[in-house]
Symmetry: C2
Subunit: 159 residues, 2 copies
């Protein structure tokens, strides 16, 4: 484990067909540790300023890889909005990291439904677009993105 | 380790100021293991079809989280195009996963320089836009994205 989910949102599993644009969902929190940042970076993004405090770098201290922030966000997003049938990423628009994540930061996700479409060609399959915003303990945005996910509603017959 | 870098690209570190649009860089390869897929999913994307073979899912078998593919891609991208001064992600356009990654797949990255701009406000800082394409051993694209990264050239005085 590279961090700790210190609280869980009390979300119940939703059916995608029942979601409406504008609905908001909030995750629990996830505490990012120095060792977690180092481990993720060693495996996936081995740049000095992710592995250790690097006074000469952009940040002057150790910060998390943006891909680590993205991975933590996915975990919080799955918790914030559990979907019967799961979700498969089709693509992501506008992935941005407006501020770095530092050791000890506690992250939380807000997911706002933007659009839900039933697939015409595949009955029981829905295309869901969601604005996913990740903030730290000060309320500062550390990541924003708008993923489009494919959800197959269980109990509806696939084509 | 959730996978094995089985070969490394023989890249030398480049200065961002010397890169030209159209230049291509190829990474070494990375073998994705069943256990690696499970470990990443358990921590960051705990959906059944990432944790195990799930005959009822979209895929009918275990597949990697797209965020795992993205993290592996970052590692291969850093190898393919080592930059003096490192790189910091500003944002990513058009992140897509056109095909799933399965246990035993071997991934490789091609990075094509799209644009290099010197920052006007911060001397020694460059904004680099790169098309990053990740393929499996059959040459099938499993991820595409166009990140914009900020690179501070070492030896040039920051503002």
């Amino acid at each position: 484990m590279s961090g700790t989910a210190v609280s869980n949102a009390n979300s119940r599993t939703r059916r995608v067909a029942d979601l409406a644009a504008g609905e908001e969902f909030h995750s629990g929190t996830y505490e990012v540790t120095r060792e977690g940042i180092r481990q993720f970076a060693a495996e996936f993004d081995p740049q000095a300023f992710h592995l250790m405090d690097d006074p000469k770098s952009f940040f002057g201290e150790q910060v998390a890889s943006g891909w680590h922030t993205a991975a933590i966000t996915m975990r919080l997003f799955v918790e914030a909005l559990p979907l019967a049938g799961g979700r498969v990423g089709a693509g992501v628009d506008g992935l941005k990291w407006p501020a770095p994540v530092r050791p000890g930061d506690t992250l939380q996700v807000k997911a706002t439904v933007k659009d839900v479409k039933a697939s015409r060609s595949k009955p029981g399959t829905y295309i869901l677009t969601v604005l996913v915003e990740t903030s730290n303990q000060s309320g500062q945005l550390v990541q924003t993105m708008t993923p489009t996910v494919v959800v197959r509603e269980p109990g509806e017959k696939p084509s």
